[in-house]
């Protein structure tokens, strides 16, 4: 019994210990609750909100682009896409089959849809097809009863009303790639498109706008339960360009009609504003914003006329005889020749062991600088360059915008090349040869220019020697009044301009066939052509092949620079036709038509009379063969 008492005592003692232990453990729980719910409450509140709140970026509409007259040249178009929500359709396969009856789906598309459906929760809409036409949308809506779970979603996609005509100005937008700098959370949005080239790229920041936010409460599976907060963001700003859509269209069409490859730039000579900027052939930028197919892309890459290359700034060509403008100015300015200096052209001249030919096989006889420009006599400029030397020539060329980048803002702009002695020594480790000065004098040899540089050059000549710089954005009047004067005597510029006037307006001159007279307004200019092959000695002795007889890629490039009105220049143009077979034949007619169009549209230049008495001259009748 005593032992039983002990047993009971042990039980009571030990139970008390256990009870205290339990009490302590439960107090530990309360301490832990305090730690989590008071001490760390803020941390966990934040984590809970991160769990529950999902922030979705709202893509702002991209800014529109307008031409100088307020015509929309890049806009946003509604893009309809068909989506399917798996949980809203009783039989997925049946619905997809029904969809295929309305609109065929390729095997790859079907595969992608099924993959997306598998990878996502059943309430996530999966894209079936996008870029639907109105017709297709109405077809789907008509068949809605057979298509449970299929919804039509409206988005915005970039649209260029002028398509390929503006492609090399505006560029295009496309999906963000790994190479792009990710400086904006918008770039992480799937399907977001950014400017990849042209104005779209140059003004990307301005056009993009700021993304908005949609905060919504989501459950653990990501389903949106309710909207908490919406911030619309800021739409992209509009961009106004100096381009005139009418002139741009006209200029592009001139190339497209003849299936020509080349570039044309039309500038306002007083401001440098770019009115037309064409590189032909071109591509359809709308295809890029919709997503270009592999086949289309390969076709663009393999085309020998290089539609993706922006020839106006990336193409580097010998300026040919258009460079004689610079030679003349340099020689006059430096006093190498006087206005009345005459050289004799006997069709060829020799320098050391080399013989240099004039394009005219019977020679021009005696001529002064104006006449030499008018007939584009090579011998005159050989003689001039021989006396002038490369350094002074290069210096003048640079003053007129050649040999360095204009920095117009588009990518892949090339600097061209104006050679001098130092350059040659550095490049080839050889001293400059006199003969190289000669051929530089007629724009051949090492000299390379882009069409945009040629346009700049002719604009600076036309405006009397003001250092205008081509631009796609309008200049303020303050900027216009602060354009520097180039260090060239105005009288010499006037002489060159007189020569350029005669090139177009005197019978027998190189561009006489491309002249026009619109209400008394005429144009002036200078032709040029650059050989892309070497004329052999043998060929010279027998007969030089005519351009038409050569394969396309061996034909000369045709160049023309000009301006109008001749007496009070306002518009300057540079046209380069690749393998067009000479400046007067290929480039001058195009330049003439562009200038004429610019003049016609500019009613301030003339008093528009009700009856059109003067029409542009026919260009067919008296085409003069190339220089």
């Amino acid at each position: 019994m005593n032992r039983d008492n002990d047993k009971g005592k042990v039980l009571i003692n030990r139970s008390l210990i256990v009870a205290v232990g339990k009490f302590v453990l439960l107090m530990c729980i309360i301490l832990r609750l305090y730690y989590l719910q008071v001490y760390q409450a803020d941390k966990y509140k934040t984590l809970a909100d991160e769990n529950r709140i999902s922030t979705r970026l709202l893509v702002p509409p991209r800014g529109l682009i307008y031409d100088r007259n307020g015509v929309v040249i890049a806009t946003n178009q509604q893009n309809f896409q068909a989506l399917i929500v798996a949980e809203q359709t009783p039989n997925l396969q049946q619905t997809l089959d029904a969809f295929k009856k309305i609109m065929p789906l390729s095997e790859a598309e079907e595969k992608r849809i099924k993959k997306d459906l598998k990878a996502n929760k059943s309430f996530v809409p999966i894209k079936i097809k996008d870029n639907l036409t109105w017709e297709e949308v109405s077809k789907i809506q008509l068949n809605a009863p057979d298509l449970p779970g299929v919804i039509i979603d409206e988005g915005l996609s970039r649209y260029y009303p002028y398509g390929e005509k503006m492609a090399h100005v505006l560029g295009y937008v496309a999906a963000v790639s790994d190479k792009d700098e990710k400086d904006d959370p918008l770039l992480e949005v799937p399907d977001f498109k950014i400017g990849k080239s042209g104005i779209e790229k140059l003004f990307e920041k301005k056009l993009r706008g700021k993304g908005g936010n949609l905060k919504s409460e989501v459950n653990a599976y990501g389903r949106v339960m309710k909207e908490i907060e919406k911030n619309e963001g800021i739409p992209g700003e509009r961009v106004d360009l100096t381009i005139d859509a009418r002139l741009q269209e006209k200029a592009y069409d001139l190339f497209a009609e003849q299936d020509q490859s080349g570039a044309a730039i039309l500038l306002d000579v007083h401001s440098g504003e770019i009115l037309a900027f064409v590189s032909a052939p071109s591509f359809d930028p709308n295809a890029f914003s919709k997503g270009i197919s592999n086949a289309e892309w390969k076709e663009l890459l393999s085309n020998e006329k290089k539609p993706l290359s922006n020839k106006a700034i990336s193409g580097q060509y010998s300026p040919g005889s258009t460079f004689k403008i610079i030679t003349a100015l340099a020689a006059l300015e430096s006093g190498t020749i006087k206005p009345d200096t005459r050289f004799f052209c006997a069709a060829k001249m020799t320098l050391g062991t080399h013989t240099f030919h004039c394009w005219k096989r019977i020679g021009h006889g005696y001529l002064n600088v104006i006449e030499a420009l008018k007939h584009s006599c090579d011998i005159f400029f050989y003689e001039t360059a021989l006396r002038l030397g490369i350094e002074k020539l290069a210096d003048m060329a640079r003053r007129f915008g050649l040999g360095s980048k204009i920095n117009v803002g588009l990518e892949n702009e090339k600097a061209g090349l104006i050679p001098d002695k130092a350059w040659k020594l550095k490049r080839f480790g050889e001293p400059w040869q006199q003969g190289e000065s000669l051929i530089s004098g007629i724009g051949q040899g090492y000299i390379l220019t882009t069409p945009l540089q040629l346009a700049t050059m002719v604009a600076r000549v036309a405006n009397g020697g003001y250092e205008v710089k081509p631009t796609f954005t309008k200049l303020t009047s303050d900027e216009k009044s602060h354009i520097n004067k180039i260090k060239v005597h105005s009288a010499y510029i006037d002489m060159v301009k007189e020569g350029m006037f005669e090139v177009v307006n005197v019978p027998g001159a190189t561009a006489y066939g491309s002249r026009f007279d619109y209400h008394g307004i005429k144009m002036a200019g200078k032709t040029g052509s650059t050989q892309v092959r070497r004329i052999t000695m043998k060929e010279r002795q027998t007969r030089i092949l005519k351009q038409d007889e050569l394969p396309w890629k061996y034909r000369d490039h045709g160049v023309f620079v000009g301006y109008a009105p001749a007496d009070n220049p306002k518009y300057a143009v540079a046209v380069l036709v690749e393998h067009g077979g000479g400046g007067s034949k290929a480039a001058a007619p195009i330049a003439s038509k562009i200038l004429l169009e610019a003049v016609k549209l500019d009613t301030s230049l003339y008093n528009p009379s009700p009856e059109k008495t003067l029409t542009p001259l026919s260009l067919k009748k008296d085409v003069i063969p190339s220089e």
Binding site: R14, A19, L47, A48
Partner: protein, 379 residues
């Protein structure tokens, strides 16, 4: 405090009416309070709906309540008399489940009786307490302190614990071991023996580790480092802590717990219901539940102390231990203090078997209380 209900000393049998008025109504109130909390939380877990859980829970509680009263009305000697029979019946069912499980090629914990499913491991929790209580009631302190005397109860514990472990249900197996361990402790088994067992246990840990299932290993590793696998096994515990912590002092409000209602919190109607309660009612609600349960355990201890019979004392203490383990393991688990072992919070979590098992325990405890003045012989 309960003197009010106490009748004059009655050593022999009481009438049913007398027994009824001898029930501890405060105790029953506390139990009902927890069950009501369960109904409220299950209503919230279903986003403010009586179905599918809250109403069922209420019905089960009502049924459990009747069972509790019925068991409380029993003669305590009856429990002692049939303790071993009940134990062996439960053991038999555990074996049946194990064999069926092998045939069915999968984890098997249930016996389907058509109307209700019985989990033999839950029966075993009560049966083991009763059987051990009977064994120690009839043993002398000498026997208890001897090694030979400790072997039968040790086997009584280890055999069912092993069977439950291989089900596999580590949580319940540990509960059986801990409950039995506490009983061994209170009856006076020398501390050094515990030392030996604990040491042996620690030494065999690396071997035991080999026998654990992959998911069990995962749970333990995840407990040690929840960030190890934030989307997999660690997800539950991370989300549970976020829910709890974000509840703050006063909670987000009834039906307003974002973690639970947006389904970030897993198993919110079963194992993680305490988390949901803490999210919606904050620390105030959580401490309330802990304190009510503390009171329930304290009452049970006081019943044990008041009982005249060793058997009665031991049964009440054993069942209190069992209930304490439920509460402690479940809450510690959702607070990230213990690995996730799948132990529900009794009276609050949704689940029929546990409800019946704890209500039966309360019935037996109340029976001990009603018969506190009865002396039970050693036969």
């Amino acid at each position: 405090m309960y003197k009010f209900y106490e009748t004059t000393i009655k050593t022999q049998s009481m009438s049913l009416t007398e027994k009824f008025f001898n029930l501890n109504f405060m105790y029953i109130l506390l139990i009902s309070l927890m069950a009501a909390t369960g109904v409220v939380m299950l209503y919230s877990a279903a986003n403010g709906s009586w179905s599918p859980w809250a109403l069922n829970h209420l019905v089960r509680f009502a049924f459990g309540f009747c069972l509790m009263i019925a068991l409380a009305m029993m003669d305590i000697r009856w429990f002692m008399r049939y303790a071993y029979l009940f134990y062996f019946a439960s053991l038999f069912l555990l074996i049946v489940v194990e064999v069926e499980g092998h045939i069915g090629m999968g984890a098997q914990r249930w016996i389907n009786l058509g109307i209700i499913k019985i989990q033999p491991s839950e029966l075993m929790k009560i049966a083991l307490v009763l059987a051990l209580a009977r064994y120690f009631h009839t043993s002398s302190l000498q026997t208890i302190e001897s090694i030979r005397g400790i072997i039968p109860p040790a086997l009584m514990t280890l055999v069912p614990a092993f069977l439950v472990m291989i089900q596999p249900d580590l949580g319940t197996a540990l509960m059986l071991l801990f409950t039995a361990g506490m009983i061994f402790f209170v009856v006076g088994v020398q501390l050094w023996k515990f030392g030996v067992v604990i040491l042996a246990g620690l030494l065999s840990l690396p071997i035991a580790w080999q026998f654990l299932h992959g998911y069990q290993k995962n749970r333990i590793l995840t407990f040690l480092d929840p960030e190890r696998d934030p989307l997999g096994a660690g997800y539950h515990i991370i989300q549970s802590k976020i829910a709890l912590g974000s509840g703050g002092v006063f909670g987000k409000g009834f039906l307003k717990g974002t973690q639970s209602h947006l389904n970030f919190l897993p198993e919110k109607h079963t194992d993680f219901i305490f988390t949901m309660l803490s999210e919606e009612f904050g620390m105030v609600g959580a401490v309330f539940v802990v304190l009510v349960n503390l009171l329930i355990i304290a009452y049970t201890y006081s019943f044990a102390m008041k009982s005249n019979s060793y058997f009665g004392k031991l049964v009440a203490i054993g069942l209190a231990c069992n209930y304490f383990l439920y509460i402690f393991i479940n809450i510690s688990m959702v607070l990230g203090m213990l690995p996730v072992v799948g132990i529900p919070l009794p009276l609050i979590s949704y689940g029929g078997t546990v409800m019946l098992s704890v209500m039966s325990s309360f019935g037996i405890i109340l029976c001990v209380y009603i018969n506190r003045n009865m002396n039970i012989g050693k036969d």
